[in-house]
C-alpha cells in the first residue's frame, strides 16, 4: 500500500509543479496578481509531496520491503542501516528522486527568501524552477518509477553496489547533487530576467549568493568523490578524467566563471548578457553531465543495457529546457546594453580573461568527454580519451589563469592602473619563487626542478591574495565577509595548486610482491608484511593484511589494508591502509593473492596530499563566508518597511 502512496505522491507533485510553472510564468505575463501569489502555495505543496515520496522509499529500504523492485535491487537484509538509507541514491531511479527532492528543497528556499523580491520577478523564478521539477517528475513517472512493485516479492535483495558501501560515497552524491541542482537557481534567475526583458540593477546581487552556495556544494562534492576514489579504488588515484568526474567538473568550471562575472555585473553593471549565458550554461552542463552519466547515453554506445526510451526523453527535455533558454537568450539578450567601458588593465579585464579561460577549460573537457560519442556516431572505431589529452589541454588554460589571478586581485575597477600594486606584486612573486625553490631543494633534494613553477604559482596566489586583507588590517579598516571569503577561496586555490604539484611530482609508487615477513622499500620507507588474516564484516568477508611501515629502522605505524568480498554481489572492494605523516600519506593497498602465501601490494608515498583536500575545503568555506556577507541579506520589502510593527514582530 505504501509504495502506491509514494507513487501517487509523485503524481500529485508533478501536477503541483505544473501549476507552479503555469502560475509563475503565465501569471506575471498576464499581470494576474492572484496567480502570481498562488505560485508559492504550489511550491509548498510540491515540496510536501516530493518529501512524502522520498520518505516512503526510505521507509521501504529501512524496513526491508523487497516487494519494491528498486529496494530489492539495491539492498539486502544484511546491509547495515546507514547504507540502506544511502541505497536510496544507489542507482538510477533513486538518484533521480534525490535530484527532484533537492530541487524542491532549493525551490522552497528560494520561495522563502523571495518574499523580499518583487513579487512578479520572484514568481517567474519559481515558475522556471517549476518547469524543471515538472519535467523531472514526468521523466521519473514515465521511465524510472522507483516504486515499481516486484511480484512476487523477493525473499532477499540483491544488495547495494559494494563500491557504494562506504561512508565517503554515502555522503558524496547528495552533496554533489545539491551543487548540481543549486545551479538551477541561477538558471531560473537568468530565465526570469530574460522573461522580464530587463535586468534589475539588483539582479546580480540577488543571484550571487545562490550561485556561490551551489558552487560551494559542488566544490565539496567533487572533493569528496576524489577523496573516496583515492582510498577505495585501490590504486591511489584521485582524478582520472573519466566521464563521471568530468560531468561534475564542467559545471564547476562554468560556475566559477559565473561567480566572477556576476561580480562584474553587480559592481559595474557590465557583462550582462555574458552573465546570463554563463548562468544558462552552468546548469545546462550539470543537466547534460548528469544525464550523460546517469542515463547511460554515453556508456550505452558500448553496452547492452541502454534504455533508448530514457535517453530520448532526456534528450527531448534537454532540448526543450536548454534550447528554450538559449532561444530566449537570442531574443532578449540584445536588449541588455552595458554602456560603461573599462581599461585594459582594470579588474574587469582580468575577470574577462578569467571567464574566457575557464570557459575554454570547460570546453576542452566537454570536447574530450564527448569525443568518443562523436567518433562512435560517425562510425569510427571506439575512441578512448584519457589523461594524455586532458592534462596538457587543461593546463594550457589553467596556467595563464593562475598567473593572471595574482595580478588581477590587485587591479582596480574601471581604471587600469597597477602602479600602486607593482611593489606588492613583485615582492610576493619573488617570495613565492624562493619558497618554491626552497621546498624543491630542501624537502625533495632538488628532484623535478620544474615543480618550482607549480609550487611558485601556488605560493604566489596565496601570498598575493593575502596582501590586501593584511594591508586593511594594518590600516585598521573593516574586513567585509565578502572580501574575507574571496581571500579564503583564492588561498584555497593556491593551496590546491601547491598540493597538486607536490603530489604529481613527488609521489613514489611501487607494486610489490611480499610473503609474510617480507619487506620492501618505497620512497625511503620500509613496508613489511607481517601476514594476512580473514575477517568478517556485516555483509562481507575480508582478507586483512598487517603491514608495518618504518623509516630508518624506527616503526612509524601499522596499517591494515583490506580486500572485501561482498556476499551477495560477489564483488570485491579494496580499503587501503593510509597513515598521514605531516601531510604526507603513507598508502598501502592489498592486491591479489599470488599463491604460496605471497600477495601483491601497492605502496605509495604521497607528499602534500592532505593539502589537496584542504585547498578545496578552504575554497568552499570561502564561498560560504562570502555569501553570508550582509549586503546579500535582502532588505525587507518596501511594504514591510512602512510597517515597523510587523517587521518587529517578524524579528522574534
Amino acid at each position: 500500500m505504501l509504495p502506491e502512496l509514494g507513487h501517487f505522491a509523485l503524481v500529485l507533485a508533478m501536477l503541483l509543479a505544473g501549476l507552479q510553472a503555469f502560475f509563475g510564468i503565465v501569471g506575471p505575463a498576464l499581470g494576474r496578481d492572484r496567480w502570481v501569489a498562488a505560485t508559492t502555495s504550489a511550491v509548498a505543496g510540491q515540496c510536501v509531496m516530493v518529501a512524502t515520496a522520498v520518505g516512503v522509499l526510505v521507509y521501504g529500504f529501512v524496513n526491508f520491503d523487497f516487494s519494491i523492485l528498486y529496494v530489492a535491487e539495491n539492498s539486502n537484509s544484511a546491509l547495515p542501516l546507514m547504507y540502506r538509507i544511502a541505497a536510496l541514491w544507489g542507482a538510477h531511479e533513486g538518484s533521480l528522486l534525490l535530484w527532484i527532492f533537492l530541487l524542491s528543497v532549493w525551490t522552497l528556499a528560494v520561495a522563502v527568501v523571495a518574499r523580499n523580491l518583487p513579487p512578479r520577478f520572484a514568481a517567474r523564478v519559481l515558475g522556471v524552477l517549476g518547469v524543471l521539477s515538472c519535467g523531472f517528475l514526468l521523466f521519473t513517472l514515465a521511465t524510472s518509477d522507483p516504486f515499481h512493485r516486484l511480484i512476487p516479492a523477493a525473499a532477499d535483495g540483491r544488495d547495494l553496489n559494494p563500491l557504494l558501501q562506504d561512508p565517503g560515497l554515502a555522503v558524496h552524491p547528495p552533496v554533489l547533487y545539491t551543487g548540481y541542482v543549486g545551479l538551477a537557481v541561477a538558471f531560473a534567475f537568468a530565465c526570469a530576467a530574460m522573461l522580464e526583458g530587463r535586468m534589475d540593477p539588483d539582479w546580480a546581487r540577488w543571484t550571487r549568493p545562490w550561485t556561490t552556495a551551489a558552487w560551494a556544494f559542488l566544490t565539496c562534492g567533487i572533493t569528496l568523490g576524489s577523496w573516496w576514489s583515492y582510498y577505495t579504488l585501490g590504486w591511489g588515484g584521485y582524478w582520472e578524467w573519466d566521464p563521471v568526474e568530468n560531468a561534475s567538473f564542467m559545471p564547476w568550471l562554468v560556475a566559477t566563471a559565473l561567480i566572477h562575472s556576476l561580480a562584474v555585473t553587480e559592481k559595474r553593471g557590465l557583462f550582462k548578457s555574458w552573465t546570463l549565458l554563463l548562468a544558462i550554461l552552468g546548469f545546462s552542463l550539470s543537466l547534460l553531465g548528469t544525464f550523460l552519466v546517469r542515463s547511460g547515453v554515453l556508456v550505452s554506445v558500448h553496452s547492452f543495457a541502454a534504455d533508448p526510451a530514457r535517453g530520448r526523453f532526456i534528450l527531448a527535455f534537454l532540448g526543450l529546457v536548454i534550447g528554450g533558454a538559449l532561444a530566449l537568450y537570442a531574443w532578449r539578450a540584445p536588449l541588455l546594453k552595458s554602456s560603461a567601458g573599462f581599461d585594459l588593465l582594470s579588474r574587469e579585464s582580468f575577470l574577462l580573461f578569467n571567464n574566457i579561460l575557464l570557459v575554454v577549460a570547460a570546453a576542452t573537457v566537454l570536447g574530450g568527454t564527448l569525443a568518443p560519442l562523436i567518433a562512435d556516431t560517425m562510425g569510427q572505431t571506439s575512441l578512448s580519451v584519457g589523461p594524455p589529452y586532458f592534462r596538457p589541454t587543461f593546463l594550457l588554460a589553467m596556467i595563464p589563469l593562475l598567473l593572471l589571478l595574482s595580478v588581477g586581485v590587485h587591479a582596480n575597477w574601471k581604471r587600469g592602473r597597477l602602479e600602486s600594486s607593482v611593489r606588492a606584486l613583485l615582492i610576493t612573486f619573488v617570495a613565492a619563487l624562493v619558497l618554491g625553490a626552497a621546498v624543491v631543494l630542501g624537502a625533495f633534494g632538488g628532484r623535478h626542478a620544474l615543480a618550482v613553477t607549480g609550487l611558485g604559482i601556488g605560493a604566489w596566489i596565496v601570498l598575493s591574495s593575502l596582501v590586501d586583507p593584511v594591508d586593511r588590517l594594518r590600516r585598521r579598516l573593516r574586513l567585509s565577509r565578502a572580501l574575507l571569503g574571496m581571500t579564503l577561496a583564492h588561498v584555497g586555490l593556491g593551496v590546491a595548486v601547491i598540493a597538486l604539484t607536490g603530489v604529481e611530482a613527488y609521489t613514489s609508487e611501487r607494486d610489490i610482491a611480499l610473503g609474510a615477513g617480507g619487506s620492501a622499500e618505497v620512497g625511503g620507507y620500509a613496508f613489511k608484511l607481517l601476514g594476512t588474516q580473514p575477517v568478517e564484516g556485516p555483509n562481507y568477508n575480508a582478507t586483512r593484511a598487517t603491514v608495518e611501515v618504518s623509516r630508518d629502522g624506527r616503526l612509524i605505524t601499522t596499517l591494515f589494508p583490506e580486500v572485501r568480498q561482498f556476499w551477495v554481489q560477489q564483488q570485491t572492494r579494496k580499503v587501503a591502509g593510509i597513515y598521514n605523516l605531516h601531510g604526507t600519506d603513507l598508502f598501502i593497498a592489498l592486491g591479489d593473492d599470488l599463491g604460496a602465501g605471497r600477495w601483491s601490494l601497492r605502496a605509495q608515498i604521497r607528499p602534500l596530499i592532505t593539502l589537496l583536500w584542504l585547498g578545496p575545503l578552504l575554497m568552499a568555506l570561502g564561498g560560504a563566508l562570502a555569501l553570508s556577507d550582509r549586503r546579500y541579506r535582502l532588505a525587507r520589502s518596501a511594504e514591510r518597511a512602512t510597517m515597523p510593527a510587523a517587521a518587529h514582530g517578524e524579528a522574534h
Binding site: 540483491r158 550554461l281 554506445v301 547492452f304 541502454a306 534550447g323 537568450y329 537570442a330
Partner: protein, 185 residues
C-alpha cells in the same frame, strides 16, 4: 536580431543532433543478439548438482533441443523466473537444463525442494568458467540450443510468459499431438 546571440543556440542544436544520432546508434547495438547466437555452443561439461561425481556435457545433449538456464539462489530475479520455468516444464515442449551458477550446492538443493524443480537436469558451475565461455553477464540468462548444438536464441534476463510464448516456442519444432504455438495453451 544580432546573429552573435544565436551562436550558443546553434552550437547546442548541433550537440543535440549528435546526441540524438548517438542514442539511435546505441539502440541498434542494443537489439544485436549475443554474438554466439547462430553459432555452435561452446563445449561444456559440468558436475551434476545431486551427484557431483557424475557430469553432464554438451556432447551428451547433441541431437536434442534444450534450454540452458543460468540461475543461483542468490539471484532474486531467478525466483521471479521460477514460476514460468515450472509452467514451461509442465508444458513439456523442451527440456530445461539448470546451471546453478556460483552457488552452494546445499542452498541450491534446499531451493529446489522448497520451490519445486523445473529442470530435467541440474549441473553446477561454481567457478563460473562455463558462464564466462557463454558470456553470461548476470543471472538469470538462458540459451535455446538446437539438436545440432547451435544456439538459436538467448534470453538475456528473466524468461517471462511473453518471452516464452513469443521467443522460445516459435523456434521449437511443432510437436506431434501438441497444437502449434499461438493456437492456444
Amino acid at each position: 536580431m544580432n546573429p552573435r546571440f544565436l551562436v550558443p543556440l546553434a552550437v547546442f542544436v548541433g550537440l543535440v543532433v549528435v546526441l540524438a544520432v548517438g542514442i539511435n546508434h546505441s539502440r541498434q547495438v542494443g537489439v544485436l543478439q549475443s554474438p554466439l547466437v547462430g553459432h555452435a555452443i561452446p563445449q561444456w561439461e559440468l558436475p551434476m548438482l545431486t551427484d557431483p561425481g557424475r557430469s553432464l556435457s554438451s556432447r551428451e545433449l547433441k541431437g536434442q533441443w534444450y534450454v540452458l538456464n543460468f540461475w543461483g539462489t542468490w539471484c532474486y530475479a531467478c525466483r521471479a523466473e521460477h514460476e514460468q520455468l515450472l509452467k514451461a516444464q509442465r508444458d513439456a515442449r523442451v527440456q530445461i537444463i539448470g546451471v546453478d551458477w556460483k552457488d552452494e550446492n546445499a542452498a541450491a538443493l534446499d531451493w529446489l525442494s522448497k520451490l519445486g524443480n523445473p529442470y530435467t537436469q541440474v549441473v553446477t558451475d561454481q567457478d563460473g568458467r562455463t558462464a564466462i565461455d557463454l558470456g553470461v553477464a548476470a543471472a538469470p540468462e538462458s540459451f535455446l540450443v538446437n539438436p545440432e548444438g547451435v544456439i538459436v536464441y538467448k534470453e538475456p534476463g528473466v524468461i517471462t510468459p511473453q518471452s516464452w510464448q513469443h521467443e522460445f516456442l516459435p523456434r521449437l519444432p511443432p510437436q506431434r499431438g501438441v497444437p502449434a504455438p499461438g493456437a492456444g495453451s
